[in-house]
């Protein structure tokens, strides 16, 4: 009897050959393995959003196994004693069951909520990074638009999710949403009644929000995320200027193994942070709010943070009512419909606006340091100040309460601040950027400040500078600025290494001190 010998070592090669015969992947696969990615911490901000989105899909699927988006009235009979016997909707009941009667349900619910907050936060910070470094410029305008759309989709998705449990807070939020829809001129009342299936709240709204929240919006988001990441892949990532880096190449490391492994590790860390927050930090304790009742509200009702800027704009809006011929545009329309409209369209057009403004139609793969584009940095600061004033105003009742300020004073401070602070922020950020540019030029021309003060024979004091290259007869160096960090400290130019490199003890033991023997000799000679 002869047994066929299986060569285990040749097995993977053989299998790969079999695959390649059927589907020739060798060439495309290798080009993926070898694809070069540039690396910088600021490129990871978007990844946080991507990873949070994956966690949202995972935890959300779990929640959907137990949640029922129904406004059918039931009497609560679950484990949470304080609410037993209370009339509530089936949606609120199942949300309570998820928190108290499903093993591990609460940690999943809280992880889902924290992941949603992190998702939006990562999107905002990532967007600022992309804006301030000019990564949105040609040829990446489409990805900038997709990113902005994802912000608004994420916003809607988050709001729909926030509304589902039908607790007091989410019902109040939904009521405001219905008022916002009502405020749209001409079609407002039709839109509202059509969406709610009649008068607020009706019986159908949760089912509609549910299909939006678990199917339609995640599907669109998933498609846009894929296109967004796919375009980064195809167009290749932007990179910072630096040695050997040009507009026509990518300097970094190949995707496999090191880059991919770092991504995997980072995903696990994002997941870890969300798990820790989901377990340790309470969020949206719906059992304390009680079921939604149209007549009940409490002070200090704040929406999720990414909705607060619109809440703020609504609070700051003066009571300007437009009435004519028996028709009416309520003041609610401007801060909640018109403002978001402007905030989505203008940034989308910005890449073309800037190209026109700066007369720059070229393709850019090298990023810009914020200081090198003072106008854009100023605009970013301006937008940031505008957003910040609105967000703080979204919680101005809390600020007023905690700091004993009059609520009306907070509103007025917000109204004035909204007009005054953004221009100031523009001015100061622009000056700051110009100042930093100036300092870069100074270091390139005169060298790094050493901190050593020298007294000249005539009594003057001068600071000694370390030139970055051989200086000319005036002590100046004529170094060009390349768009990347200029060393500003002596240990950046290799003068001083880090003192201690190990965590608990120095990796390198210090050399045995040479002086130890000499003083001894001196002492002995002294005694003689």
């Amino acid at each position: 009897m002869k047994r066929r010998k299986v060569d285990l070592k040749a097995l993977p090669g053989k299998a790969a050959e079999e695959v390649d015969t059927r589907l020739p992947v060798a060439t495309p696969l290798r080009s993926v393995l070898n694809k070069v990615f540039p690396d910088h911490w600021s490129f990871l901000l978007g990844e946080i959003a991507l990873f949070s989105f994956i966690i949202l899909l995972l935890t959300g699927t779990f929640l959907a196994l137990f949640f029922e988006p129904s406004l059918q009235e039931v009497r609560y009979d679950g484990s949470y004693l304080p609410l037993q016997g209370v009339e509530m909707s089936r949606a609120y009941e199942t949300a309570l069951d998820l928190s108290f009667d499903v093993r591990g349900g609460l940690v999943m619910r809280q992880m889902h909520h924290w992941a949603a907050l992190l998702f939006m936060a990562a999107i905002v910070v990532h967007m600022f990074r992309v804006f301030m470094t000019g990564a949105f410029r040609k040829p990446r305008e489409i990805n900038w638009i997709i990113g902005l759309s994802m912000f608004w989709l994420g916003f809607t998705e988050g709001f729909a999710g926030y509304s589902l449990p039908d607790d007091a807070l989410s019902g109040t939020g939904l009521r405001i949403a219905s008022a916002i829809m009502l405020s749209i001129p001409v079609i407002g009342s039709w839109v509202t009644t059509s969406l709610f299936g009649g008068e607020f709240p009706g019986e159908i709204i949760l089912s509609r929000l549910y299909i939006l929240h678990v199917f339609l919006l995640p599907l669109i988001l998933l498609a846009l995320v894929s296109i967004h990441v796919g375009l980064v892949f195809v167009q290749k990532h932007t990179q910072w200027p630096g040695p050997g880096r040009t507009n026509k190449n990518v300097v970094g490391e190949r995707m496999f193994p090191r880059y991919a492994i770092k991504q995997g590790g980072f995903f696990m860390l994002v997941f870890a942070v969300i798990a820790l927050m989901g377990g340790l930090f309470q969020i949206n304790p719906i059992w304390l709010f009680g079921p939604y009742e149209a007549a009940v509200v409490s002070a200090g009702s704040q929406p999720d943070w990414y909705v607060m800027f619109l809440d703020g704009s609504t609070r700051l809006m003066p009571a300007w009512d437009i009435r004519f011929l028996g028709y009416n545009i309520p003041p609610l329309f401007w801060p909640t419909v018109v403002l978001p409209g402007i905030l989505s369209v203008v940034p989308m057009a910005y890449p073309w606006i800037e190209a026109r403004w700066k007369k720059d139609k070229g393709s850019h793969n090298l990023l810009q340091r914020p200081r090198d584009v003072p106008d854009r940095t100023g605009l970013a600061a301006m937008a940031g100040a505008f957003y910040l004033v609105l967000t703080i105003s979204g919680g101005n009742d809390i600020v007023a309460d905690k700091f004993h300020i009059s609520l009306n004073a907070m509103t007025w401070a917000g109204r004035i601040g909204l007009l005054v602070l953004p221009p100031l922020a523009y001015y100061f950020a622009r000056r700051l950027a110009l100042g930093l540019q100036q300092h870069d030029r100074e270091v390139l021309a005169h060298g790094v400040e050493t901190g050593i003060i020298k007294r000249l024979p005539d009594g003057r004091f001068v600071e000694v500078h370390q030139p970055l290259a051989a200086p000319d007869e005036h002590g100046h160096t004529d170094l060009p600025y390349v768009g990347w960090t200029v060393p500003k400290k002596m240990n950046r130019v290799g003068a001083l290494g880090p003192a201690i490199r190990g965590f608990f003890r120095p990796i390198e033991q210090p050399a045995p001190p040479r002086q130890e023997e000499q003083p001894r000799e001196e002492i002995t000679t002294g005694k003689h």
Binding site: P139, R175, S189, F271, L276, G279, R315, A319, Y327, P331
Partner: protein, 358 residues
């Protein structure tokens, strides 16, 4: 370290069958053919060095941490008491323990994998050429002409009847849109839901009584002077969300405040108060939140959502914040049996403003 001029190397090429080639030589050749130049490649620690052994131990430690924490997670998940108990109880720690063990397990994987990748794998610098920018003029012409030719093949330019008949397809789009729009659309005016509340149908002869949210009817002596309560129409489901526009604030004004109000009463509100009692809609005219924070001293109602403030001694006129309209007043009275009643519906629509609401 290597040639930067890829053209030169292309010409030279590498004989893949050369037995002297190391595996890395082949990898580098593959990368070169993908337009990737590996210009720097060196291990972070010499193989077998103390530093490398230390990093290996750190990775192993993190993975061990993950093993331990995951086990603890499973043990806690199964055996830790998790069912809710009132008061201090071990079950209160269930969620924190799950989060902590799961989080630390993931921290272990994350840091282990990161240390592995960042410290144990060789450090490299690779350069890849970008091939972006427009396609060559030749390519553009070939594709462009192909697309134009497709247009020619369709022959719309030559066959005008076809062009016009395409218009005939437009109703198909309408048909597709008709179903979702037609099914969803709901006329807000027939029935006139936005202009009516749960008090609709009340008349001076056939009033609707006011009730608490638990269904008990309301007598004037239930509200102390200067006090306020929330009341609902005494109809089936009157206090439920089916009548979300009906919650009403019943306020017992102090005598002098009542006099102040009666002096200033709008024409539309004439006769709506009873004694020193006044009833306003609780639904804010701005965004529909319950405007329920009652400042007894200043006689103001504050809406906690956007801080509109209404002066109850002056027809609940908005005096601060984004609201532009007074809270509607419910005409009230007291029936023969001494219960407070609504003698009619609100005379202006309750709640947030909209286009058709003058």
């Amino acid at each position: 370290m290597s040639e930067t001029n890829t053209q030169v190397r292309d010409a030279a090429g590498v004989d893949l069958d050369n037995p002297n080639l190391t595996r890395f030589d082949i990898v580098r050749e593959g990368a070169r053919r993908d337009g990737v130049e590996i210009v720097h490649y060196e291990p972070q620690y010499p193989p077998g060095s103390r530093g490398e052994r230390r990093m290996t131990r750190i990775v192993a430690f993190f993975f061990l941490l993950t093993g331990i924490m995951s086990t603890l997670f499973v043990v806690a998940f199964i055996w830790w008491p998790w069912e809710y108990e009132l008061g201090p109880h071990a079950s209160k720690y269930y969620t924190p323990i799950l989060g902590l063990t799961l989080g630390l397990a993931l921290v272990g994987v994350g840091l282990g994998v990161l240390t592995w990748g960042k410290k144990l794998l060789p450090h490299e610098i690779a350069i890849q050429e970008r091939h972006d920018g427009p396609s060559s003029a030749e390519e553009q012409k070939l594709t462009g002409t192909t697309m134009q030719f497709i247009g020619d093949e369709m022959g719309l330019g030559r066959r005008p009847i076809l062009k016009w008949s395409l218009l005939g397809l437009a109703p198909l789009g309408l048909a597709a849109a008709a179903i979702p729009i037609g099914a969803l659309i709901k006329d807000p005016h027939h029935p006139d839901i936005l202009f009516k509340t749960g008090f609709a149908g009340a008349t001076p002869d056939n009033p609707i009584r006011l009730m608490h949210d638990d269904g008990t009817l309301v007598r004037p002596e239930m509200v102390s002077t200067g006090g306020q309560i929330t009341v609902f129409p005494n109809i089936p489901g009157g206090a439920s969300n089916h009548h979300a526009d009906s919650p009403t604030l019943l306020i017992h004004l102090r005598e002098d405040d009542a006099a102040k109000l009666n002096q200033k009463l709008y024409t539309i509100n004439q006769g709506s108060t009873w004694s020193s009692f006044v009833a306003y809609s609780k639904i804010c005219t701005h965004a529909g939140c319950p405007a329920s924070l009652y400042e007894q001293q200043t006689n103001r109602l504050l809406c906690p959502c956007h801080q509109s403030q209404f002066l109850i001694t002056d027809n609940a006129r908005p005096i601060f914040g984004p609201a532009t309209r007074s809270l509607p007043m419910l005409p009230i009275s007291v029936d023969k049996e001494g219960f407070l009643v609504a003698t009619g519906d609100y005379k202006v629509p309750v709640g947030p403003a909209f286009w058709e609401k003058d």
